[in-house]
């Protein structure tokens, strides 16, 4: 067979391998970052023991999880119990295939890109539902049922929020969406702020994270659908959860935050921002070196210094294309490298917001969550789509200037939001009172 026929598959397969290989590591480090962020918000230090500043903690955790006994409850449905985490992980990872990490780094630019991501990631529910069912435990099952209901509900509003941005982009291809934002010179977060908000809320709910972590609400359902899982299978669920976080953050970055574009990509004055990565890396390196003498053990000192050096190397890699002369190979690599940096930066920022919310808010109750989803987010997302459609029609068909047309659309959406909130407030106390009376009667 002709090798040339296989050539188009080479890079995608390579990328895919890289993602599958690196993602667990990334997920592990997201967990570490989350613990560190949490610790910082809670006046603690977080993991500090394994490696300097706990930098090797994820690896230790991974080793522990791999070596742990894989307990399968006696009365569980073995086959389903085995397979369920795999479904979750596969679905989460497949969704990454269509995401553009920079202009060059993408497994497949499908012309149904966004739909593909949505559709595939929605299959992850099966992993949760089946895992919860197969565990043969009430906690697991309740977690699974909650999860299914929650994901189906919030997928609706997430999908509608995405539709808003898609209307603006006029394409489903992820690459095309970023390109559209580049062409219009505005990130869609500014053209459809309400849509972004809806997506933010819905994506938190879809990834089962606090304050919407009903399915695994640890204080109610122990660990929800994962209650009976342990060791590697549990790790797979965890991996799926964090991969999902990356996926939703990537979607948000692509759709609303300009994908791989630098802020103000079209303005020359802000070319200074090309040095932002350099500064960031230098700052991290500086911090590492400042902390180096304080490490207790020699090995840790070396490690810390090495992390600093690594940051310097990264800084060099990022900065060289900027200062390289035009037309050189290095300069040609700039969009790819910087695109990847900005994309990951945005994804990171989005995930940081997730963490921030998690450590700030209490948990919703399940009925409140459903009420929020169906009575507020879904109508609002429909209003959002209509607002954007009205704005676009005014702009494209009636020839209004873009800014007032879109502003009108946003204003309409905000009006709808205000109406929904006022209606919700009118109804909410009644429901609470009803429950209260019931409790008093009993």
């Amino acid at each position: 067979m002709d090798l040339h026929a296989l050539l188009p598959f080479l890079f995608p397969v390579l990328f895919a391998l890289v993602i599958v290989a690196v993602l667990p590591l990334i997920a592990g480090y997201i967990v570490l970052v989350e613990r560190k962020v949490m610790a910082d918000m809670q006046v603690r230090l977080g993991p500090m023991r394994v490696g300097p500043h706990g930098l090797l903690q994820p690896i230790a955790d991974a080793v522990k999880l791999l070596l742990k006994e894989d307990i399968i409850p006696e009365s569980a449905d073995k086959l389903v119990f085995w397979g369920a985490p795999l479904i979750s992980v596969t679905a989460a990872m497949l969704a990454l295939a269509a995401l553009p990490i920079g202009p060059f780094f993408q497994i497949a630019d499908l012309n149904i890109g966004m739909l593909f991501i949505l559709g595939i990631s929605s299959l992850g529910i099966f992993g949760i539902v089946l895992g919860g069912w197969a565990s043969n435990s009430h906690y697991s099952l309740m977690g699974a049922l909650r999860s299914a209901a929650q994901l189906v509900s919030y997928e609706t509003s997430a999908g509608m929020a995405i539709v808003g941005a898609l209307l603006l982009a006029g394409t489903l291809s992820t690459r095309g969406i970023v390109q559209a934002q580049a062409d219009d010179g505005v990130w869609f977060i500014f053209a459809a702020p309400v849509g972004f908000f809806i997506y933010l809320v819905a994506s938190i709910a879809e990834t089962n994270r606090a304050p919407f972590d009903m399915p695994e609400a640890e204080s109610e359902l122990v660990a929800g659908y994962m209650t009976e899982y342990s060791g590697f299978r549990w790790a797979l669920y965890f991996l799926a959860e964090y991969t999902n976080m990356v996926v939703v953050a990537s979607i948000a970055a692509t759709l609303f935050l300009g994908g791989w574009m630098r802020p103000f990509a079209n303005t020359r004055v802000f070319n200074v921002l090309d040095y932002f990565p350099l500064l960031l890396m230098l700052w991290i390196a500086g911090y590492c070196w400042r902390r180096t003498p304080k490490q207790p053990v020699f090995v840790q000192k070396v490690f810390m210094a090495a992390v600093g050096v690594l940051c310097l190397i990264l800084a060099a890699v990022i900065t060289l294309p900027v200062i390289a002369p035009q037309g050189s190979l290095l300069a040609a690599a700039k969009p790819g490298i910087h695109g990847a940096f900005w994309f990951l930066f945005k994804v990171g920022a989005y995930i940081y917001v997730f963490m921030w919310l998690r450590f700030t808010f209490p948990r919703y109750r399940f009925d409140q969550l459903m009420r929020l989803g169906w009575q507020f987010l879904v109508p609002l997302s429909i209003a959002n789509v209509m607002g954007i459609a009205i704005g676009l029609t005014l702009h494209r068909q009636l020839g209004w200037p873009a800014v007032p047309a879109l502003l009108l659309g946003i204003a309409l959406t905000l009006g709808a939001a205000w109406y929904l909130i006022s209606v919700g407030e009118k109804h909410e106390p009644a429901i609470v009172g009803e429950e209260g009376e019931g409790a008093a009667d009993a």
């Binding site: 809670q42 043969n136 204080s219 700030t360 008093a440």
Partner: protein
């Protein structure tokens, strides 16, 4: 029972005769190993979907027979045991016991001892409420307040440590007065803590009080009206949140409470939110008491006239104090020997927990967690 539900799970016992339609009612076993039952409480919930239609508490996992132990110890020997009941508020337990025995003996602690007792007990109340707030918020899903609360609690525990060398089970008092003389900086430490504490409470309030989710999770949940509260015998903040302005510190003052000015916060609706507000306000009031108390600690002996061997004259006494959780009573019967004939401890947690069933009916599983948290039970005390 839960047959319908069990059968359909993969390993459930198949039973053809069962013709129950759907999973109408299931039994959910919450605990004894569960993250938010605050120890080894086991609640058997009857659920309709996620709605609670009935419940039964199974307790006793931590039963140590404290009351039986008491019958085989001398009066002083038994004092450390009471610290281990409500281990989150050991000082209060000790105060109740010491005062009960003092009453039984007909002696009184000297004024200096009483004031220091009051200071430590109020600090303990703050510590207990802080711990409650942290865990309660954690149950409802707010992770962060716990650590802020523990940060402040730590300061209190440090004061305890400086005073008596122990942090948790302090055994700080002695029958007839104090075990130890106050250390030199007790006033200063207490004052420093109290001065900064008001702002800390504001901080917690900033995180929770106005938070929509918090309000949604606590308002109208676990309502106990005043009549029910009295009938169920609940005491402490739970009773006050139901609108009954009753606090043993005011109603039947002990220690040095009659010298200080403080108010008794009450709630209106008797729901979880009110209990939260009441406890927060109680912390502020306790801080106020501490500040008043350190201003003027009388000098003098710290131990009243009690012999080495305690032989209370025969008879019996019931003495109750306002522990952080409610009325903590000691009913001690003496037969004139060195060992109590019978010690009955009236644990506020146990009686408050009894109201759980009534409070959670009609609510959802998530609310059960909130209500268990709001009752502020310590299983060491429930089970004794």
């Amino acid at each position: 029972m839960s047959d319908a539900f069990d059968n359909f799970l993969p390993g459930g016992k198949a039973n053809v005769e069962t013709t129950v339609l759907g999973a109408d009612e299931i039994i959910l076993n919450m605990g004894p190993q569960h993250p938010s039952t605050h120890g080894v409480l086991r609640v058997k919930l009857r659920l309709d979907g996620e709605k609670v239609v009935g419940s039964e508490c199974v307790i006793g996992y931590l039963h140590r027979g404290v009351e039986k132990i008491a019958e085989h110890r001398s009066y002083q020997q038994f004092a450390p045991y009471v610290d281990r009941m409500d281990y989150v508020a050991a000082v209060s337990n000790g105060l109740g016991y010491c005062e009960a025995v003092e009453k039984l003996m007909g002696v009184e602690a000297p004024p200096r001892a009483r004031v220091i007792r009051t200071i430590l007990t109020e600090l303990q109340r703050i510590a207990s409420h802080l711990f409650w707030l942290g865990t309660h918020a954690l149950d409802i899903g707010a992770l962060t307040p716990l650590f802020y609360c523990l940060r402040e609690r730590e300061e209190i525990l440090k004061i305890f440590e400086k005073y008596c060398g122990a942090r948790l089970t302090t055994h700080a008092f002695r029958i007839g007065g104090l075990q130890y003389e106050a250390y030199d900086e007790l006033e200063k430490d207490t004052e420093r803590f109290c001065r900064g504490f008001d702002k800390r409470v504001d901080e917690y309030e900033a995180l929770l009080t106005e938070n929509r989710i918090w309000v949604g999770r606590t308002k109208g949940i676990g309502i106990l009206n005043a009549a029910d509260a009295i009938a169920m015998g609940v005491t402490g903040p739970v009773l006050r949140a139901s609108g009954v302005q009753w606090d043993i510190r005011k109603a039947m003052p002990y220690a040095a409470y009659d010298q200080y000015e403080f108010s008794i916060p009450t709630g209106k609706n008797g729901d979880t939110y009110d209990r939260y507000l009441v406890r927060l306000e109680e912390m502020r009031q306790s801080r106020k008491i501490c500040l008043q108390a350190i201003e003027n600690i009388p000098s003098g002996p710290i131990l009243g006239k009690v012999g080495k061997v305690l032989k209370p004259p025969p008879g019996e006494v019931y003495h109750a104090i306002e522990a952080p959780k409610g009325e903590l009573g000691y009913y001690i019967v003496s037969d004139g020997t060195t060992q109590p004939y019978r010690v009955r401890i009236r644990p506020p947690s146990l009686v408050n927990l009894e109201a759980l069933d009534q409070m959670i009916r009609g609510h959802l599983v998530a609310d059960v967690v909130a209500v268990i948290g709001t009752l502020d039970i310590v299983l060491g005390e429930v089970d004794r």
